[in-house]
């Protein structure tokens, strides 16, 4: 089934006309309503009249996560907050998260694109969707929630965590669709075995998994262990949240809802646009968003685009499963973490040196972050209690900022490798390729 045949199965020329029209409207709105965009465009000698169709997109300046942070919290909103009815925020940044605001129409758009995502994944109104994404400032839970309600499915808002309860509900309510991160899906699968739950009591048929990178191997494992079709969904709060793109049942690339979010692929170094099929950084322009419209937002995700019509009948451009990132952002248990954030927290703790190492591993299908910290030689280190409380202090600071559990390990002076160039700060042992 296709949720919105008109928009999901458009001819290419019709799509280009629609995108061009909405792009012009968007540029008018941001130029006149967002000082940041006006100044940036003026600096490049651009006015709203210079943008006539999607081909002109490449003339426009990029927007980055730093721009959002610099204008924290509401600086890039294109409408007064009286028009905003919901805020969400992304996780794990140096004290300042990126805040996104939705108007009533934005929330309607969001429900629409998530409804498409779910339909695309093969979910129908008779399904029971168990949403095990976190509810709250994170867009995962509520995004899936309203999309699920829109298609008329039975939405079970369990939110994240509490595995025992998840599995009980899964059996008692006959859950047919599971929405969570792929690593949590695997964790649930293993818990079913460990708790000796009768497989016949699990009625799952579809999984919509996203918010972190995962491989084909992981997909095979999840499908085998949970007995579901595992569908990759893609989204980021800056653009709207889940609903930006989704695989269909043919699992051959993610259909981008390009009538709302125009994708481009650029070379992350030269910033030049790349052509179809070439791998580079994914960039979005949100042509219909009102609260926080973004022009050429650099996602830092690496992928490529495919404009061929899909077997499912959709003509929406497909993006390949993301293969990596063009920056050093880590996604750990669905939370976005930059090593620089951890560094700035450690620098505030005087008893440690600025040398640290992050080790990320996937143990029992759960991402684990270990932070090795060097004890400063000058730090008085004669008592165990003192070191234990130092460790606790570091852990508390990290956990309260990052929002995930961290294992801190104190190591000897000079045991973390010094390098003359860019220091190696991260060892990612998760096998994601």
């Amino acid at each position: 089934m296709i949720w919105n045949k008109t928009n999901e199965c458009m001819q290419r020329d019709e799509m280009i006309t629609l995108q061009s029209e909405k792009l012009c409207e968007l540029i008018d709105r941001v130029y006149f309503n967002v000082p940041y965009y006006r100044e940036k465009m003026q600096k490049d000698g651009l006015g709203p009249d210079d943008i006539k169709n999607v081909d002109d997109l490449k003339k426009l300046p990029f927007t980055t996560k730093d721009d959002l942070r610099d204008n924290y919290p509401f600086g890039l909103f294109a409408l007064p907050t009286s028009e905003i009815i919901r805020l969400h925020a992304s996780s794990g940044t140096t004290g300042k998260s990126t805040v996104v605001g939705y108007t009533r129409k934005d929330l309607a758009t969001w429900s629409e694109v998530v409804a498409r995502t779910l339909t695309c994944a093969g979910v129908e109104r008779n399904d029971f969707i168990q949403i095990a994404y976190g509810y709250g400032l994170f867009t995962g839970g509520l995004g899936l929630h309203y999309g699920g309600e829109k298609i008329g499915a039975v939405v079970i808002p369990v939110s994240g965590g509490n595995t025992g309860r998840q599995l009980q509900i899964m059996q008692d309510f006959n859950t047919t669709v599971l929405a969570c991160t792929p690593s949590y899906a695997l964790y649930l699968a293993e818990s079913i075995d460990e708790m000796n739950i009768d497989r016949n009591k699990i009625k799952l048929k579809t999984g919509v998994f996203g918010a972190e990178p995962w491989t084909e191997n992981m997909r095979n494992e999840i499908e085998k262990k949970l007995g579901v079709k595992a569908i990759d969904i893609y989204g980021l709060s800056e653009i709207i949240g889940p609903g930006v793109a989704s695989e269909c049942i043919f699992q051959n690339g993610l259909h981008v809802n390009e009538d709302h979010f125009i994708p481009e692929i650029i070379d992350p170094v030269t910033l030049e646009p790349l052509s179809e099929g070439e791998e580079g950084e994914l960039v979005f322009t949100t042509i219909t968003k009102e609260g926080l419209p973004l022009v050429r937002y650099r996602t830092r995700d690496l992928t490529s685009l495919n404009y061929q019509e899909c077997e499912c009948g959709r003509t929406l451009v497909r993006m390949k499963k993301c293969t990596g990132r063009s920056d050093d952002m880590l996604i750990i248990r669905g939370v976005n973490i930059f090593p620089s954030t951890i560094e700035s927290i450690l620098l505030e703790i005087s008893e440690t040196t600025p040398h640290y190492l992050l080790i990320i591993d996937r143990i029992n299908n759960m991402d684990v972050l270990q932070v090795l910290v060097e004890v400063d030689q000058q730090f008085f280190l004669d008592r165990i209690g003192q070191l234990e409380s130092l460790k606790q202090k570091i852990r508390n600071s990290l956990e309260s900022t990052l929002g995930i559990g961290v294992d801190v390990k104190l190591v000897e002076h000079k045991t973390i490798e010094r390098s003359e160039g860019k220091a190696k700060r991260v060892i990612d042992k998760r096998k994601l390729t």
Binding site: D382, R383, I384, L387, L410, V411, E412, H413, K414
Partner: protein, 141 residues
């Protein structure tokens, strides 16, 4: 009167203690007493050595996380019960001990300890006419 103790932070990795001790031995630093406080991940080695300042420089130069710490050392006889008598003096004055270790040579014994209030401990020891050891006397043991 206080003596200098070398305190070294070591990760629980095989060979680390041996490396630290070899570094001292190579420079003719004699270890009089040694104790280790350990946790799952790391340990603190505490040592009384013949030349603490030199030992400190050697270990620091080798990249060890090391510090010189002032500790109290009490001389007792190595008779049964003498350790307990010494500790009673401190407990009667409500002085908490952070860590303690002891060793004996022939008929003499030495107790090395660190308390949360060094001055108070020193006064209590002197008031009870117990003998404090200095660095040199310790080396002579």
């Amino acid at each position: 009167m206080l003596i200098k103790q070398l305190s070294v932070f070591l990760e629980n990795k095989s060979g680390r203690l041996s490396e630290a001790l070899s570094a001292l031995g190579d420079e003719n630093i004699n270890i009089k007493a040694l104790t280790i406080a350990d946790t799952q991940e790391f340990g603190i080695v505490r040592m009384i050595v013949s030349d603490p300042e030199k030992g400190f420089s050697i270990l620091r130069a080798k990249g060890f996380s090391v510090n010189l710490v002032d500790v109290i050392s009490i001389a007792t006889s190595s008779e049964c019960g003498s350790f307990a008598v010494a500790l009673k003096v401190l407990s009667d004055e409500n002085i908490s001990i952070e860590y303690i270790y002891a060793f004996s040579v022939a008929d003499k014994a030495a107790i090395v300890l660190r308390t949360e209030d060094t001055d108070k401990a020193l006064k209590a020891i002197q008031r009870n006419n117990m003998e404090l050891l200095g660095g040199n006397e310790m080396s002579d043991l």
